[in-house]
Symmetry: C2
Amino acid sequence: MIPELKYNDQGLIPTIVQEANTGEVLMLAYMNEESLKKTLELGKTCFWSRSRQEFWVKGLTSGNVQNVREILYDCDSDTLLVKVQQVGKGACHTGERTCFYRNIELA
Amino acid sequence: MIPELKYNDQGLIPTIVQEANTGEVLMLAYMNEESLKKTLELGKTCFWSRSRQEFWVKGLTSGNVQNVREILYDCDSDTLLVKVQQVGKGACHTGERTCFYRNIELA
């Protein structure tokens, strides 16, 4: 049973994806109600692509799927945290393991 | 020097906050360009409160500030990941250490 979640004015909820074993944050993507349902059905992350306006089972073509281990939601019920087992090379389309591979220099 | 980041149509960029030592994801909040500058100046997280429409130095009243250790940005330059040392009891206004303290039951 899915709790009452707050989707934004585009019907989306930001979803943090974290590697379950290492704690590494892999990416941020967006789900809608349907893609969350698909995620639960498949046991693999499914997002809503804002640029392509379609469902997007992560890694369906590349093989770099994300097997879902745990789904959490925050105190405001407007953000998801999905802990996954990342299959293959990584989460990022650039070939990096995580999308967060660049940093801002601190003063 | 701050890289070219992509802010959304409200001038905001979603910001994942992660405990640097443990890898625990604490919260998701939003920065605008000014609050990112303040974060860099202060060395503590500063967000833009969408509900109050004002700057919000996290923990300024409660003492539960977040000392910034690292700021990363993703491949699309539209999400930030800030690694922090969380001071005090935790990040969540409910008293929990992380805002993600509830989970959705998997099938």
